[in-house]
Subunit: 203 residues, 2 copies
DNA sequence: CGACATATGTCGTGTACACAGCATATGTTC
DNA sequence: GAACATATGCTGTGTACACGACATATGTCG
């Protein structure tokens, strides 16, 4: 009984956390499915893409799709998260004592939203929140791991709040009629959100 | 007992012949191994590449390598043949009543030899003959399938002879100090080899 | 609404690949 | 030549994927 694959109902698991090593075949199949979805999204809207088409594009059996994802929405979510993580890794984004870490994170979110596959109209239908928010939360969590929380403050709540704040601001920026540059927007986001985080941890 | 994979001691099987459908996992693994070898050949000489390195580069288990190839030389051979077939497919090379078919084949061989991975010095060590010759033979065979052989002539012998003639001339061209263009060389090869083939089949 | 075509979700079975381990071969160093 | 490290070739076991088939759901057309 292949119940050990744990279909992906959440965002893709972190591959660098202290989890047991994931079978490379699993990682490969998931990446192939995600890459296939990206290619198909460049051709047609999400609603018009079938599971069979995704499997065909990925050169995998349709049953394999269901070993990993319960539906195509879950794949979309996982794909969005994985692509954002790629960007985070490529840019080495982190939230530590280094100046400008938060600005870089905000810039990454803006750039990612601006470059998402599919036309901007389709962007509203993509469940980007959970995937991006979870990654940003992880960044804050890791960056604050060595510092004690300020008294009476729940750091997890602050991380979540800050992550949503960044995401919300970036979404607003994306919808702007006359859009300032991503860099400028990142500056503004940092100015607004950084005090929240500074207040939460003793730094 | 995984004896059904038939390790590749010959050139890669033709994927468009009347063979039973090959499991997509097999095709995928072989392609991954070949692509890995190409990438490694761009970095170091063939002799310095280990089986484990190829497997790692392909993100496959070393034991998987041995399911498909008895040694790295066989992989090299298969890779060379597959890449040549790719070129043949891309250019739509065939030997039929169409004028210039032989010239195009000769040009394909020249271009392929000139673009092979690794420096020209390493080219002499690559067992390109069998892979290229077999493909060219196939092209002649298919192109002459609908025509009866001339009396007293063994068409298979002629195909092989012609294929080797083309290969030999292209190799000579590659070693030329002052090399004429591939196009010019293809013209010369056609002029020399075409009468042989015309003589062998009733066209 | 019924008929039909297509897509989805699932299942049991067979096959390919991952893994750890072992014996042997090979290359390097002293 | 001996000692050692590394690579090779192979094996049995466990796991992931391919496949065909089936039941059900969904969408389209008349």
């Amino acid at each position: 009984m292949p119940v050990s694959l744990t279909p992906m109902t959440e965002t893709a698991p972190s591959t660098d956390s202290a989890l047991p090593k994931i079978d490379p075949r699993i990682l490969r199949s998931r990446r192939m499915l995600m890459d296939a979805l990206v290619r198909l999204l460049a051709q047609k809207p999400f609603e018009e893409i079938s599971i069979q088409e995704i499997a065909d594009e990925a050169t995998l059996n349709r049953a394999t799709f269901y070993l990993h994802y319960p539906d195509k929405g879950s794949l979309l979510k996982a794909m969005a998260g994985a692509r954002f993580r790629d960007l985070v890794d490529r840019r080495g984004l982190s939230f530590n004592s280094c100046e400008g870490g938060l600005r870089a994170i905000a810039l990454g979110v803006c750039d990612y939203l601006a470059a998402s596959p599919g036309c901007p109209g389709a962007l509203a239908k993509m469940p980007l929140e959970d995937s991006i928010i979870a990654v940003v939360e992880d960044i804050f969590r890791e960056g604050s791991a060595e510092r004690p929380a300020a008294p009476g403050i729940d750091p997890e709540l602050v991380f979540t709040t800050a992550a949503w704040a960044i995401f919300g601001a970036a979404r607003l920026w994306l919808d702007m009629r006359e859009r300032i540059s991503a860099e400028e927007m990142a500056d503004k986001i940092e100015a607004i959100v950084l005090p929240m985080l500074m207040h939460a941890t003793q730094r």
